[in-house]
């Protein structure tokens, strides 16, 4: 059976660490960083990249348009 794999890339300089993508991800992929960006904000990253399906929920709710979503049938 074909499996769908996803991945995201966060524009960490643009991210404001609002946490909305983290709570909107249905597959518990995302977490907030401990480090901060130039503006002093934490940023979102994939803690569990293998869980990502490329569903784009995170991209849809991000207020700052920081997230690129990729999806591949393997």
């Amino acid at each position: 059976m074909a499996k769908i794999k996803g991945a995201i890339v966060v524009d960490t300089a643009r991210c404001k660490g609002c946490d909305i993508c983290v709570t909107s991800c249905p597959f518990d992929v995302l977490r907030m960083s401990r480090e901060v960006n130039e503006k002093g904000y934490t940023y979102s990253y994939m803690l569990n990249p293998d869980n990502c399906t490329g569903c784009a929920s995170c991209g849809l709710v991000c207020p700052d348009g920081c997230i690129k979503v990729y999806k591949l049938k393997v």
Binding site: C18, A56, S57, G59, L60, C62, P63, G65, I67, V69
Partner: protein, 252 residues
């Protein structure tokens, strides 16, 4: 990049090119950003970047023209529907929309808003209702809920002293000139998709000359509400939605 999925041919979601690369000045998690993002997406999907004129409000969204890369006029506080009236009458083929907060639209701009809707001006009005004056420090707005705290009603809005919250969108649905009036939100993936469809319909109506469309987006001002963005979304679901229920009020 080590991740083999991250290749241009696998890209399924990215911000629209109509949204500029300028980092928006909004607080983290502010609904304004999400609505800006989807307005830009709709304009790109319609292929109307060169055919759109927006009217910016006074309020936190005063710099919207730095973020959505279309022509804009800046209006005096609350007067966006009057400016949009003139722009659309002089440019009937353009897509013309206003973008306004609840202080702008429902307080100082009440008259302009109601009369533009009653005249049936062929404009789309995007109305961000966060229940507060965000820009100036979280003062009470006409839309502030009973019991809701703000900097000018620190113990909560009281009807004897402060009057009742105003459902101005319901009033606008009663005017003959509106063709489409809806109330939406942008706090979840599915609500974002619905709001996008609503904005698309409002923009189509402007181009087709069907009358005035109003898209209220029940929103958060997490800084003014003194909550985290995620808490503010939850508070909105629990407190704003019962008084400002989501859905279409009018569609004809």
């Amino acid at each position: 990049m080590s991740n083999p999925i991250i290749q241009p041919e696998n890209l399924v979601y990215d911000k629209s090119a109509v949204l500029t690369d300028n980092v928006m000045h909004y607080c983290p998690g502010c609904s304004h950003g999400t609505v800006h993002r989807i307005v830009a997406e709709v304009i790109e999907e319609m292929g109307l970047q060169d055919q759109t004129i927006g009217v910016a409000p006074v309020g936190c969204a005063v710099f919207i023209y730095n973020y959505i890369n279309v022509d804009f006029a800046e209006s005096a506080h609350g007067r966006a529907p009057a400016i949009a009236t003139a722009i659309k009458r002089l440019n009937p083929d353009k897509l013309v929309f206003t973008y306004q907060g609840d202080g702008d639209l429902a307080a100082i701009g009440t008259a302009e808003t109601i009369h533009a809707c009653n005249r049936g001006e062929n404009i789309a009005i995007i109305f961000i209702n966060n229940g507060i004056y965000g820009m100036t420090g979280g003062q009470m707005a006409p839309t502030t809920l009973l019991g809701m705290k703000s900097s000018t009603c620190p113990t909560g809005r009281e009807p004897h002293l402060n009057g009742y919250p105003l459902k101005i969108t319901d009033m606008l649905a009663l005017t003959e000139g509106t063709c489409y009036v809806t109330r939406q939100s942008v706090h979840t993936p599915s609500s974002v998709k619905k709001t996008k469809r609503a904005i698309r319909k409002a923009f189509d109506n402007s181009l087709q000359g069907k009358g005035t469309s109003v898209v209220e987006v029940v929103s958060t001002c997490n800084s003014g509400w003194k909550m985290t963005p995620v808490e503010a979304n939850r508070w909105m679901e629990e407190n704003m939605f019962p008084f400002y229920p989501l859905g279409d009020l009018k569609d004809r």
